[in-house]
């Protein structure tokens, strides 16, 4: 599903990610570990085609990311669900509208949107605040909106950039559950974190980065 083959992507000559190779299967949840500045977000942004690949090949669901044309980037991105480190919620839209956005971009019918958004909203525990605006939410609730928005389309590839960053251990664990549930329907999930104690009990594979290079797999 996600396949890195000697991928290098850089901001400047020696900042970025270098010569990365790893493979994440369908239905697998993999953690991306490493200290701050190690390049975790960069890995996810490369998959998201936010940063160009300078060397190597990267396949997402069989598609060579380096070969996706500029004008096909929107179509490519729609196949991926992304939870952003900084949430990226739209401030003048309610929780419902924020979660609905990926579906509206696809042109899904109103009724279907309503069903799907309420469904996922309930799963992530946002039922009560579904009509609130982002400014009326706590950090943890914003995080959940961001997750719900990534999951609402049931994408085959889910990228989560520190989705538990600001949350207490209990809530973090719930969010991991949500991502794990997503793998049950075949999604490949790559989640970055530096919270080792949180992921340790899950006994999942993890990829460790340091200064843009692979440490252990």
């Amino acid at each position: 599903m996600i396949k890195f083959e000697n991928v290098t992507a850089t901001y400047t000559e020696n900042v970025g990610i270098f010569n990365l190779s790893f493979h994440i299967q369908k239905g697998e949840l993999v953690f991306l570990m490493g200290p701050t500045g190690a390049g975790k977000s960069t890995v996810l942004k490369t998959i998201y085609r936010d940063i160009p690949i300078s060397d190597g090949t990267l396949f997402i669901n069989g598609e060579d990311v380096g070969k996706v044309r500029r004008r096909h980037v929107p179509r490519f991105r729609r196949k991926i669900g992304m939870v952003f480190q900084d949430y990226r919620l739209i401030p003048d839209r309610t929780v419902f509208e924020n979660i609905a956005l990926p579906l509206q971009i696809e042109g899904v019918s109103k009724k279907e949107i309503k069903d799907k958004v309420h469904d996922i909203g309930e799963k992530v525990g946002l039922k009560k605040s579904i009509n609130n605006y982002p400014s009326q939410l706590s950090g943890g609730e914003k995080q959940r909106v961001s997750i719900a928005r990534a999951l609402v389309k049931k994408p085959l590839v889910i990228l989560a950039d520190e989705p538990t960053g600001n949350l207490d251990p209990n809530v973090s664990d719930e969010i991991l559950d949500l991502l794990e549930i997503a793998t049950d329907s075949g999604a490949a999930v790559l989640m970055s974190t530096h919270n080792f104690p949180l992921i340790q009990p899950r006994k999942k594979r993890f990829i460790e980065l340091n200064e843009g290079r692979l440490v252990v797999q």
């Binding site: 998201y48 936010d50 500029r70 929107p74 179509r75 490519f76 991105r77 729609r78 992304m82 952003f84 990226r88 919620l89 739209i90 401030p91 003048d92 956005l101 990926p102 509206q104 971009i105 042109g107 899904v108 019918s109 109103k110 928005r149």
Partner: protein, 290 residues
């Protein structure tokens, strides 16, 4: 496809209501630009109208030699009549000449001199395309070369002055029109850019979620169209008020036979939309990834 369109349309209206103040500013900017535009166009049409009216009085006067008999004079008159650039003419026989004389000098020439010494001749109107000093000069020269013509003349000084005034009006209004248009486009696109600037992050997020440029642009362009229509409405309202004021205040003092340019309403809407469309395209293109 239809659901997407409906969604985008509702987005556009929400955009307007969310950013009421900037939307109002942008509509008013368009409105004011259109008022200035309309007034310039209005003055231009009126000045041109006056100049046409004035030019319709352009004439060439011809006096024939006194030894021509009436038949020969008529022939000569007709020869001139079919010259290039002559629209129509009046044949002036001796009797008519004395009537004209009387109307100018309030004296009867027959009584003064005892006979009528006035020459026969013609008075010619000029065809529309030839109502300028160059053409009239050419026609007069042609007439002077004809056998039997004594004097042929036109109001040379005035005509060349009017010519240069009309040319200036044309040039100045053209330059002003272009200048006003460019300034309005810049004003409008900057106002719209302000609206869009506030939504920069939203645009970025939409893009990260896989929205295409046209999907992102659509609501802004529809907003622009609405602002253009509102702007045209504002402009027409102001123009209407101005006209009422003019009728109310000026008409009792001076009667200006002002011409209302045809299609002013249509032009307001067309230019309002044009301004808004160019403005919103220019405004948003800066914020869309290439």
């Amino acid at each position: 496809m239809i659901t997407k369109l409906l969604f985008l349309l509702s987005e556009s209206f929400r955009g307007l209501f969310r950013a009421k103040l900037p939307a109002a500013i942008s509509s008013i900017t368009i409105g004011i630009a259109l008022v200035i535009f309309s007034l310039a166009y209005f003055s231009y049409v009126n000045l041109l109208g006056y100049s046409y009216k004035f030019k319709s009085k352009y004439r060439i006067e011809v006096f024939f030699h006194n030894d021509l008999n009436t038949e020969e004079a008529r022939d000569l008159f007709n020869t001139i009549l079919i010259l290039d650039g002559i629209e129509q003419g009046d044949f002036i026989d001796k009797k008519k000449a004395s009537v004209l004389f009387k109307s100018y000098f309030h004296e009867d020439i027959n009584e003064i001199i005892g006979e009528n010494p006035l020459p026969m001749g013609g008075r010619y109107d000029i065809a529309l395309d030839n109502r300028n000093s160059n053409q009239m000069h050419r026609i007069v020269r042609e007439i002077r070369h004809l056998e039997g013509v004594d004097v042929a003349s036109y109001q040379q000084g005035i005509i060349s002055r009017v010519d240069s005034i009309v040319e200036n009006i044309l040039g100045i209004s053209m330059a002003m029109g272009i200048a006003i248009f460019i300034i309005s486009v810049i004003l409008v696109s900057n106002t719209i850019r302000l609206i869009i600037h506030a939504k920069q992050e939203t645009i970025e997020t939409m893009h990260l979620l896989g929205a295409t440029n046209s999907f992102i642009r659509f609501p802004f362009v529809v907003e622009g169209i609405i602002q253009g229509i509102l702007g045209a409405g504002i402009s027409l309202l102001i123009l209407f008020l101005m006209r009422s004021l003019q009728t109310y205040l000026l008409d009792p003092l001076i009667k200006l036979p002002l011409v209302e340019p045809a299609n002013l309403i249509a032009y307001n809407f067309i230019f309002g939309l044009l301004l808004a469309l160019i403005g919103s395209f220019r405004g948003i293109s800066k914020y869309l990834p290439k």
